[in-house]
């Protein structure tokens, strides 16, 4: 499985990257909205893991961009957030529209859980 990991915190990004690599997966990392879109232009990935809060253009803006291109619309997205689901004012319907298969609360999700989730989504 090849993943695009979009996470702006350098240490968190390295931790998730290490976890996926240890599990035998390939990871492309990105730390901003624009950089992630540039990388998607060059790389084919099976899944996107996207941090909701990015500097400059947010993760939600990345979702809008992904929804604008047919090739990118098909890629499943795991959206990660520092705030719990009940405090995020986006409906499940809108998340589904943008191929968000799962929304995870970062502090309560270990790398092992995230990897299992990603493997399950790609296997489906």
């Amino acid at each position: 499985m090849k993943i695009l990991l979009i996470e702006d915190d350098k240490l968190l990004s390295a931790m998730y990257r290490d976890g996926f690599k240890l599990a035998g997966h390939s990871v492309v990392t990105s730390d901003s909205a624009q950089d992630s879109l540039n990388k998607l232009d060059k790389e084919e990935v099976d899944l996107i893991i996207l941090d909701m809060f990015l500097p400059g253009r947010s993760g939600v803006e990345v979702l809008h961009e992904l929804g604008s291109y047919a090739d990118w619309q098909k890629i499943p997205v795991i959206l990660m957030s520092d705030i719990p689901r009940e405090d995020i004012k986006i409906s499940d319907e809108n998340l589904a529209k943008y191929s968000v298969t799962k929304l995870v609360y970062k502090p309560a999700t270990s790398p092992t859980e995230l990897i299992s989730l990603a493997e399950g989504i790609v296997a489906d």
Binding site: L11, M15, G19, L22, P55, D82, K106, P107, S110, T112
Partner: protein, 244 residues
């Protein structure tokens, strides 16, 4: 951006900011521990993770200490106990704590002692929070492969010691200065490598320094920003002479 309106609201906003800031070190501790338990790490990665967990624990401890000090001065309206504190020693201790964090971002913390009075009238825990807040802010906002200069020296104001922390960032516009120090909320850092934070560190610095009868400020300098605090000297005779 949240604006503070004083009293109870101020403390609520501070607690919300602290809760937000605790999440990243908590996520790191949980996640790194999870990977260490996988049994797949080599020794180098294992040692790196142990170091990052220790740094994250320090960060959490510092946030809790800061909240405790702010709670005393804001919610309980108490004065912090004032005692003679060696500012050079506090700088050394904080720099030691944050050194691995700076190295993670390929930055170097450089302490340059000017001729100064090392002993200030302060509160040790609050002063540690202040120095930690300034240096941590410099690490988060500086570009990779840069030096962060920490310099205790005599202030131009008679009877005060100045601590300057100079970073290498995209710089601070004058119009941003008062906003940075007076508002609290989630701000995106200008460098995409460093994520976002609540702004609590700088806000706490301002509040704590005020309560210690000191002054705090920031000015843009070529290639970055220079944050400074000035605190009253405890003993005129306690001159710190840098080693030659």
């Amino acid at each position: 951006m949240m604006r503070i309106t004083g009293g109870e609201n101020e403390m609520q906003t501070i607690i919300s900011a602290a809760v937000y800031d605790l999440k990243t070190p908590l996520t790191l501790i949980r996640g790194l521990n999870d990977l260490m338990n996988s049994g797949k790490l080599d020794k180098k990665s294992h040692d790196l993770y142990v170091s990052r967990i220790a740094t994250s624990v320090d960060q959490m401890q510092r946030i809790i200490d800061t909240i405790s000090s702010l709670d005393k001065i804001i919610a309980k309206q108490q004065s912090l106990p004032i005692e003679p504190v060696n500012i050079c020693q506090v700088v050394e201790e904080v720099a030691h704590q944050l050194d691995s964090c700076a190295r993670d971002y390929n930055q170097k913390l450089i302490i340059k002692h000017g001729r100064t009075s090392a002993v200030v009238l302060s509160n040790k825990q609050a002063l540690e929070s202040v120095v930690y807040g300034l240096v941590d802010n410099a690490i988060k906002y500086s570009t990779p492969n840069s030096n962060i200069l920490i310099r205790p020296s005599l202030a131009s104001r008679r009877g005060f010691t100045r601590l300057t922390v100079r970073d290498k960032t995209v710089g601070v516009r004058k119009s941003d200065i008062s906003r940075i120090m007076k508002t609290l909320g989630q701000t995106s850092s200008p460098n995409p490598a460093y994520g976002s934070n609540s702004g609590l560190g700088l806000y706490a610095t301002m509040r704590l320094v005020e309560s210690l009868n000191g002054a705090v400020g920031v000015k843009p300098v070529p290639g970055g920003s220079s944050f400074f605090v000035e605190l009253p000297i405890a003993q005129q005779l306690s001159l710190y002479l840098p080693k030659s």
